[in-house]
Each structure stands twice: as structure tokens, then as C-alpha cells.
């Protein structure tokens, strides 16, 4: 996407309009699924119907014999590395003799028409010998007799955290909690176009989150050097983590190189549910010990995360769950064990909140139980234990920038409460489906707090690259910003232009399309792009400014325009890194593993039909500290959207898996909140700068997703008196238990 914006004063802090906004609302935006070349052909994927099986044989003959079919490929046709993966290269490009989850890609077809390609894929005969599917994460982790899912043991990562030795307390509360498998549910399914190039390489246009890590996985599989695989960002219809792993990238490139034709692949909605990772379902056991006046003495927890059949980013998810497993509270004694395990369930990986979401639901539920046990209000109990600048996380890491949690909670609690519903059906649980005219409806209020690490953690070399060029266009100064950072809907293109305007004082800024001809920008995840790519653009602009200052000093009296006229464009490329992070100690979890932490607090007000178990969220209120507002409109969008996703997890969003099989791979039965489910929000945004970050900003996209879920559940508990230890809550959990 390119943005040329000629409006004035659209720098940092302004609600600069996004270049893609009108196009998306009017349906004119070109998504990756709209890519088109006259001579292109269509690729489709044959997937395993079984969660676990050996492949005895594959007969491609019937497919190859069909008219219009140009290529049919299996793992034998993968010229280079047969596996890829974000952290471990354990996921086959195409199944090699075994399938480990339902929906695993087994073969590919290219044909001149998508329907022909689909028919040909259906004609491939795969002889499976079904084997035992390991679908119980606890058994996979702890039963020595359990079969191994992959080549390694079933425990992907076990991360303990050990602090102190006092595990007795006057007040003890325990709980077991469960988080169902959430889907990112982006609206634009996986899609892209691979175009074979004359140099034997390939140009790939794809909706993704991280161009360079895609390329670095694709090229080895194709047996090509990295420079022969050029990846450009196509229009992205949402991501939320689901595009961090590869989907159709290698497949389309393989087919393009084999057929010598551009190959387009587009998943439909059902295939999309099989084509990307989901949020890890979690089973958690917690024990909190406190003094009678509600001060935490210890936290013990076991957090079990089902990673499914392949590694994806599970180890990092486990690291977050462990290091943030007690929440933003001061506690001197900790015994946490977080596990990520392999099973034959669908692979799980990145999703907004990344391991912190699951733990947050459990520790916040515990804080409510503790408040009750101590006879304190949920807010008061949290304030008594809240971290602040100068506190230490359970990893021993010092919180060295503002963390005004207690004040945020006080502000949240002081927001006026919404009025009682006026009886309009749309305001009642069930909406116009008219399940109640007010009968059985009880109101509840609940609070939730979340803490999220911003940017990549645990020693990852996390950086971004920006190329900034100041030149004359039509006699006027103009800035071209080029990065490989993926605009996934969060407004990053807008923010990059705002940074350039602020740093260079030039109104006309173009953000070039993102591609791999510039250095890596890292992933559009971990709420990190404003920080890291924003930082890279800022640093490159500063370098341009310095060059200009040198020229100006050498040629006093010349204006910027005159300097550019005489000496030509000024261009600088810079990498930007945040402060380094360090690994967690493998046996104690200690270490400065995060570079920045962000807090968000939510209050939820709900009306629950206690007889039918239906919930209407009446209001969500939030207080979030973002360090510095870069673009208020975009920021509020992130808080609203993050809250909606957290509400979805609390009340409806779950990929149902039985015996390793997906039961609801469609938007008919995987429900996401509608406008009648998501209430109006009250939002207060604080700006306590983090001195280590560009402009003092704090990443903002994920924290609201964390705190919404426990707040909504707490409110439902308050309305119903039910324990509700699992999300999403289903009506029968309220009505029948």
C-alpha cells in the first residue's frame, strides 16, 4: 500500500487519516485475494482428513490425467529443505510419510481453473493407515506411555519460575481454569500470487506479517538463495498472529517454479480454519497465598498449553505465560511451571496477547477469589498488590519505567456506572431474539488487569530497518519512506508517515509498498511496530536531517529546497534496536527477558439472563497507559478492537476440537462478536513516557485483549454467583450448573 498525503500538520500526535480507510469501507481495497495476472493458474492444497496417520502411498495418476491440470506435487517435489517453522523447522512443507493433524497439507495441484484444481486434488488417492491420535495435552506431557507426536519428546518447552521459599499463608485460594482454543478470525483468508522470474527465482505477493522471516523459510525449501525469493506485501485482511507462520507461501512458489506460470492460491473460509495456527488452549492450576489483609505471599501455578502438532512459536508463548504468570502484582514467592506440549490437535501459535492472555484469565480469576476470601473489593485487593515503577517482576526484572497500576484502577473504579437498561430488546441479553423482557436479568460488574511484554523477548535480536529519502518532487520537498513492515490493518503506514513529517518537517510523505528489497522490519506482532519500525523511521529521518544540516552548514544561505536542487536527494537507511533482552534461566526463570511492559485495566458491566445463561455486555471501560499517543483515532481503534477480541474469548469464540477434529470451521458456528455484542466503551488513555522508547511510546495493540476477558467473566460471576472457571462461557455453564 502506498500513501501520499499532502495534508499539513499530520505529524505525531495527530489523528492522521489512514490511506486505506475509505477504500476498505467502500469495498475498493485490493486484498491479496484480489491479485490477478492474465496468464495465472490456480493452486489448491490436498489436506489430511486424519489427525494422525501413516501415509502408505499416494497415487497422483487420476489427478494428472484430468484436463487443465499442470502439476501435482508431493513432498518428493520439494527441492530443498522439507521443513519450515518459526522457531524449530519441524513442520513439513508437504507431509512426509506421516500426518500429524487434521488438515495437514499432503499434496498440491495447479490447474488452469480453480474448480479443475479442486476436482483434481479430490482425485488424488492417498492410502492412510490411521494411527492413535494424541489429543489430551496432559497425557501428552506427563504420561510416559503416551506415544510421541513428533521426532522429539512431547514437551516442547517447560519453563519454571522459582522465587523464595515461603509457601504457606493465612489465606489460601486455589482454582483450576481452562481457556478454549480461540481463532484469530481475520476476514481476509490466506492468499497470494507467486510469479516465476527469469533469473530462476520467484516473486511472491502475499498477505503476511513478516516478509523477511517468510523469505528465510521459503528460500531454503525451494533450494534457492534468499535474494532469488522476493516477497512483497499484498493487501492484508487482518492478521492477529495467524499470518506469522507460513500457510500457502512455499506451496504457491513450488507450483509457480514447476509450471513456469504465475500461481494464485486463495483459501476459502473453511480451509482457512485449517490453514493457520490458533491460540493455545490452556489448562491452569493456581494457588494464591496471602495475608489476611490481602497482601500476596506466594503464587503457585501449573500452566499447560497445547501447541498441537508442530512447534510454531509455542516456546515463546510458554515464556510469556511463565514470566507474566502471576500478573502485575508484587509477590515474593513463586513456583510456576509452564509447559507447551505437542499433540495431534491443530497447531497453535501466535495470537494477540501471546501466552499472556491465558495466564491473565487464571490469575485475575484468582485475585477475585482472594478478594472475596479477604473480604476486600476486587479493586482494593489489586491496588494492595499492584506493581509500580521500581517493582520487580517474578523474573527478577526491574520495572524501570512508569507502571501506575494503582492509579489506573482507582480511575477506572471512579467512572460512573451505566444506567439500567430501558427495556429496548437490543439492550437486553438475547437482543431482538426476544428471550426476555427483563425476566431473570441480573446486572454484574467485574474488573480485569493485564500486563503484556511489548516487542520480542528472551534475547531475540529484534530490530527494524528504514530507508528514508528526502527529494524534490514538482519542486517541493517530498519524503519517501521504505520499510518491510507489514500493514495488517493496525495503521502502521499512517504512523510511519506521521513520524517522517514530524522529524523532517515535510508535509508530503509517501510510504512505499513493503517488500524485501529493504532490510527486515521484524514482525507486525508483539505490539512492536510503532516502537521498532517507528524507531527505525525516526532514526533514519534523524540521519537525513544530519546530512542536510552538514550541507546547510557548508552552504550557508541555501534553503532545503535549494540544497536538494543542487545536491540531489538525501537518502539514509538505518536499523533500530530496542534495549537487548536476555534469556530466562531454564530452572529459575530469572532474567531481564522483556524490554517493555504495558498495562491495561478493564471494567465490564453485564446484564445476564441467569435462567437462560445469555449475556449482554452493557459497557466496557478501560484505562491504558501508552506512554505517548501517536495517533489517537488509530489507538482507540486498537483498544476497541482488542477489547472486542477479549470479549469474544470470554463469551463465544472457540474452535471446538474433538478427537483432533475441528467441529466448527466456519463463521456459522465460530462466532465472533457483532455490533450488538460489543458495547460502547469509555476509554482513558494515559501518557507516562517510557524513556527508553521512541517518543516515550508503549506498544498498545495487545494489552486490552488481556484484561477484557477476566473483567467480563468476573462481571458474569457477580451477576450469577457461578464459579465459571472456563472460557468461553457457554449458556449451559450459567443456566444448568
Amino acid at each position: 500500500m502506498t500513501s501520499t498525503d499532502t495534508r499539513t500538520s499530520q505529524g505525531i500526535g495527530q489523528s492522521a487519516p489512514r490511506p486505506d480507510g475509505t477504500l476498505k469501507v467502500t469495498g475498493e481495497f485490493a486484498y491479496s485475494s484480489d491479485l490477478w495476472l492474465e496468464d495465472m493458474v490456480w493452486g489448491v492444497t490436498l489436506r489430511s482428513p486424519h489427525p494422525a496417520a501413516r501415509i502408505r502411498s499416494i497415487d497422483l495418476g487420476p489427478a494428472l490425467a484430468m484436463p487443465g491440470v499442470l502439476a501435482v506435487l508431493t513432498h518428493e517435489d520439494v527441492p530443498g529443505e522439507k521443513h519450515h517453522g518459526l522457531e524449530l523447522r519441524d513442520q513439513p512443507v508437504l507431509a512426509v510419510d506421516r500426518v500429524r493433524y487434521q488438515g495437514e497439507p499432503v499434496a498440491l495441484v495447479a490447474a488452469d481453473h480453480p474448480e479443475r484444481a479442486r476436482r483434481a486434488a479430490a482425485a488424488i488417492v492417498v492410502d492412510y493407515e490411521v494411527t492413535e491420535a494424541v489429543t489430551d495435552a496432559r497425557r501428552a506431557a506427563f504420561d510416559p506411555a503416551c506415544p510421541k507426536v513428533g521426532e522429539r519428546g512431547n514437551i516442547l518447552r517447560h519453563q519454571p519460575v522459582r522465587v523464595g521459599s515461603v509457601f504457606e499463608a493465612p489465606v489460601v485460594v486455589t482454582g483450576e481454569y481452562e481457556v478454549g482454543m480461540q481463532d484469530q478470525a481475520f476476514l481476509g483468508p490466506e492468499s497470494g500470487l507467486a510469479v516465476p522470474a527469469e533469473d530462476g527465482g520467484v516473486d511472491l505477493y502475499v498477505a503476511t506479517q513478516w516478509l523477511h522471516v517468510d523469505r528465510d523459510q521459503i528460500a531454503p525449501c525451494l533450494g534457492l538463495p534468499a535474494e532469488k525469493v522476493r516477497v512483497s506485501l499484498a493487501g492484508v485482511g487482518g492478521a492477529f498472529g495467524a499470518r506469522e507462520d507460513l500457510s500457502m507461501q512455499v506451496h504457491a512458489c513450488l507450483l509457480a517454479l514447476r509450471t513456469g506460470r504465475p500461481v494464485k492460491m486463495v483459501y476459502n473460509r473453511e480451509e482457512s480454519f485449517f490453514g493457520h495456527v490458533h491460540r493455545h488452549p490452556a489448562w491452569m492450576r493456581y494457588e494464591h497465598g496471602a495475608t489476611r489483609d490481602g497482601r500476596l505471599i506466594y503464587v503457585k501455578a501449573e500452566i499447560l498449553l497445547d501447541g498441537g502438532a508442530y512447534c510454531s512459536s509455542s516456546p515463546a508463548v510458554v515464556g510469556n505465560a511463565a514470566s507474566l504468570g502471576a500478573g502485575p502484582y508484587e509477590v515474593g514467592n513463586v513456583e510456576i511451571d509452564a509447559y507447551g506440549v505437542y499433540t495431534n490437535n491443530p497447531p497453535c501459535g501466535a495470537m494477540r496477547g501471546f501466552g499472556a492472555v491465558q495466564a491473565c484469565f487464571a490469575y485475575e480469576s484468582q485475585m477475585d477469589r482472594l478478594a472475596e476470601a479477604c473480604g476486600l473489593s476486587p479493586v482494593e485487593l489489586r491496588i494492595r498488590n499492584a506493581v509500580s515503577q521500581g517493582s520487580r517482576l517474578i523474573t527478577g526484572q526491574l520495572i524501570d519505567s512508569p507502571a501506575p497500576l494503582a492509579g489506573m484502577l482507582a480511575e477506572l473504579e471512579a467512572f460512573p456506572l451505566p444506567a439500567a437498561s430501558d427495556g429496548d430488546l437490543r439492550e437486553l441479553p438475547g437482543g431482538v431474539a426476544q428471550t426476555t423482557h427483563g425476566e431473570g436479568v441480573r446486572r454484574g460488574v467485574g474488573y480485569g488487569v493485564g500486563i503484556k511484554n511489548i516487542c520480542f523477548s528472551e534475547g531475540f535480536d529484534d530490530y527494524s530497518t528504514a530507508r528514508v529519502r528526502l527529494e524534490l518532487a514538482g519542486g517541493e520537498p517530498h519524503v519517501l519512506v521504505h520499510t518491510a513492515a507489514a500493514e495488517v490493518g493496525q495503521g502502521l503506514v499512517t504512523v510511519q508517515a506521521q513520524v517522517a513529517r514530524t522529524e523532517l518537517g515535510v508535509e508530503r510523505v509517501t510510504v512505499a509498498p513493503a517488500d524485501t528489497t529493504v532490510g527486515s522490519a521484524g514482525s507486525s506482532s508483539a505490539s512492536r511496530q510503532s516502537y521498532v519500525t517507528g524507531g527505525a523511521v525516526k532514526t533514519a529521518c534523524e540521519a537525513v536531517r544530519e546530512r542536510l544540516a552538514e550541507l546547510a552548514a557548508a552552504h550557508p544561505g541555501l534553503t532545503t529546497t535549494a540544497l536538494l536542487q543542487r545536491f540531489g536527494p538525501v537518502e539514509e537507511t538505518r536499523e533500530y534496536r530496542h534495549r537487548p533482552t536476555f534469556p530466562m534461566d531454564p530452572s529459575t526463570g530469572q532474567g531481564d527477558s522483556h524490554t517493555q511492559l504495558a498495562l491495561c485495566v478493564h471494567r465490564a458491566v453485564v446484564d445476564v439472563d441467569v435462567e437462560l445463561g445469555l449475556v449482554k455486555v452493557v459497557e466496557l471501560a478501560a484505562v491504558q497507559d501508552v506512554g505517548k499517543v501517536l495517533n489517537l483515532l488509530a489507538l482507540e481503534g486498537q483498544i476497541h478492537g482488542g477489547s472486542a477480541q477479549g470479549l469474544g474469548l470470554a463469551l463465544m469464540e472457540e474452535v471446538l476440537v474433538a478427537d483432533g477434529r475441528l467441529r466448527n470451521p466456519s463463521f456459522t458456528d465460530y462466532l465472533i462478536p457483532t455490533i450488538l455484542d460489543m458495547p460502547p466503551m469509555k476509554v482513558s488513555i494515559l501518557e507516562n513516557p517510557d524513556p527508553a522508547a521512541p517518543y516515550g511510546l508503549r506498544g498498545a495493540g495487545e494489552p486490552p485483549t488481556l484484561s477484557t476477558t477476566p473483567a467480563v467473566v468476573a462481571a458474569v460471576r457477580a451477576a450469577t454467583g457461578r464459579a465459571l472457571s472456563r472460557v468461553p462461557i457457554r449458556p449451559e455453564h450459567i443456566a444448568l450448573t
Binding site: 476459502n268 437482543g431 428471550t435 462466532l671 449451559e732
Partner: protein, 293 residues
């Protein structure tokens, strides 16, 4: 795939007779989804949107005849006073876009146990008018129309032309449980209609058995218990009546466990909806009587 576009009803019937495998398409909100999901690959589509009469409704001799192609948005806007139960059900269907295109005829054609128009059609005693070129018109009471999961009494050479129903003479209510507050397929649903002239009660249960169905025992129990004439009496409904009615409705269902809900929850929710809709309906009835008195 052939695309047939008749402009008159006889043409449509002739096309269907010639090619019984042709799939009729009205709003397309079921048909297009199925094609998109590759659930079916029909040899031909029979587009009914040019048959103008299907999109009309009329009232003659105290009975309504509503063309199979009248979309939900018009049922709500034009028939809401005469068919309140069906209008309430229509209001819960999908989103505004779906209600602009989707039709009662299409809902009948799909015959899904979760179709929202079925319970009020059952409760209101509607009759479905179907026709074939070979055998002419058949009038099928709603109750006999639904034969199994997505199976109806429609023969391969027949088309649905309209449904017939009496304008409401008493209170009607529709209530539907879903796991979100809009755009949701029914976990289960219930429709109630009071027919004071005949002192009769109509019910319809959705999404809680292989077909939509009536709770006959509940209807009979209630018709006998209600003090139709009194109306004015302060304690109109004894709690025992409400509870028993709920039980009988719940017992009439044959729900299963599926991704949308459990059988136990469905039975429970049906009883709750039955009690609540009855309370609303009886209050309305009493109010109307008071006003007459």
C-alpha cells in the same frame, strides 16, 4: 451449470418439470452459501426472482396469501401487524442484508430444523401452497411439510408458491436462543400463538428435533387450562400452569448435543421460553380484554 430464468409461474413449473434436478434460487442466502462451500454442485439453477407474483402478498376472505419470494424485511414492514409471530422471527434472521434477500419460501425450501420461520408458521396454523406442472396445486399444512433434517414434503417437480395464514386474532410471540446477540443460528426457538376465537393454542419448536414441530400435548393442556372468558381475573395464570406448560413443551422436543448447545440445555431453554412467551401473551390478552370491557 445451466441458469434458467423463467419470468412467469407456468414457465417456472415447466422448467422444474423438465429438469427436476434444477435447484430453485430465490434470495440465494442458502443456495449461494452451499455452492460456495461446495456442499452441492447442482446441474442447473432455477432463478425465481423474475417471477413477479412470488414477491406479492394479498388478503382475501380474511386469509393471507404470501408469495414465496416475499423477503423478511417486507414481512416485518408490511405484515408485522397481521403476522406478528412471523415478523418477530423474521427480525431475528441474519443481518439487514440477509433479511433484504432471504425469504420464507427459501426457508421452507431449505427445511432446516433451525429455520426461524417454521415455529411461527406451525403456531399460526399456516398452510403451504406447492404446485407442479403435472399434478397441479397441493395445500400442505405446515405440520405435514417437515419430514426430516432438511427434508420436506416437496416433490422434485414441485415449487413452493405461497403460504396461507390467518391474520392474528390473539397475541403471538417468538423467542430464540442463540449464543450471541444477533446474526446467530438458533440453539433452539419457540413460537406461541393464542387463537381466542377457537380457544385454541398454537406452538412451534425450532432447532430441538430433526424437524420443526408442534408441542401438541402442551397446546391441548393450555387450551383447557386458560380461562379464556375471564381474562379480567387478576390472577390470570396459576404458576402451576406456567410450569406444566413449560414441561410439556420441553418434553415435546427431541434435542441432541451439537456444537451449538447440549440437549439438556435445549430442553431447559424451551421450558423457560415457553413460560415467558405464555406470560407475555396472556398479559396482552388480558389487557386487550380489559380495554374491550
Amino acid at each position: 451449470m445451466a441458469f434458467l430464468r423463467p419470468t412467469t409461474w407456468p414457465e417456472a413449473l415447466a422448467a422444474k418439470a423438465e429438469l427436476p434436478g434444477a435447484v430453485p434460487i430465490q434470495g440465494g442466502t442458502d443456495v449461494m452459501v452451499e455452492i460456495n462451500f461446495d456442499v452441492r454442485r447442482p446441474e442447473a439453477l432455477l432463478d425465481l426472482t423474475r417471477v413477479a407474483e412470488l414477491a406479492r402478498w394479498s388478503e382475501t376472505g380474511g386469509r393471507l396469501r404470501v408469495g414465496a419470494g416475499v423477503p423478511y424485511s417486507r414481512v416485518i414492514g408490511e405484515l408485522g401487524d397481521r403476522l406478528p409471530g412471523l415478523a418477530q422471527a423474521s427480525r431475528t434472521v441474519g443481518s439487514p442484508q440477509i433479511r433484504n434477500r432471504g425469504t420464507v419460501g427459501g426457508n421452507l425450501g431449505a427445511a432446516s430444523p433451525a429455520g426461524d420461520s417454521h415455529p411461527p408458521l406451525l403456531a399460526g396454523g399456516a398452510v403451504i401452497e406447492v404446485e407442479s406442472a403435472a399434478r397441479g396445486v397441493r395445500m400442505i399444512p405446515a405440520e405435514e411439510f417437515y419430514l426430516g433434517v432438511k427434508r420436506s414434503a416437496l416433490e422434485p417437480d414441485e415449487l413452493i408458491r405461497a403460504f396461507h395464514a390467518e391474520p392474528a386474532t390473539g397475541p403471538q410471540y417468538f423467542s430464540k436462543v442463540g449464543t450471541r446477540n444477533a446474526m446467530v443460528i438458533a440453539v433452539c426457538s419457540f413460537a406461541l400463538a393464542l387463537h381466542p376465537a377457537e380457544r385454541r393454542v398454537g406452538t412451534g419448536i425450532g432447532s430441538a428435533a430433526p424437524t420443526p414441530l408442534r408441542a401438541r400435548a402442551a397446546e391441548e393442556f393450555l387450551a383447557a387450562e386458560l380461562d379464556w372468558a375471564a381474562g379480567l381475573a387478576p390472577a390470570g395464570l396459576a404458576p402451576g400452569v406456567l410450569a406444566r406448560f413449560g414441561e410439556l413443551v420441553s418434553e415435546a422436543a427431541a434435542p441432541i448435543d451439537d456444537v451449538r448447545g447440549t440437549a439438556g440445555y435445549r430442553r431447559h431453554a424451551l421450558a423457560v421460553m415457553a413460560r415467558r412467551t405464555l406470560t407475555w401473551a396472556w398479559n396482552d390478552y388480558r389487557k386487550a380484554r380489559e380495554q374491550c370491557a
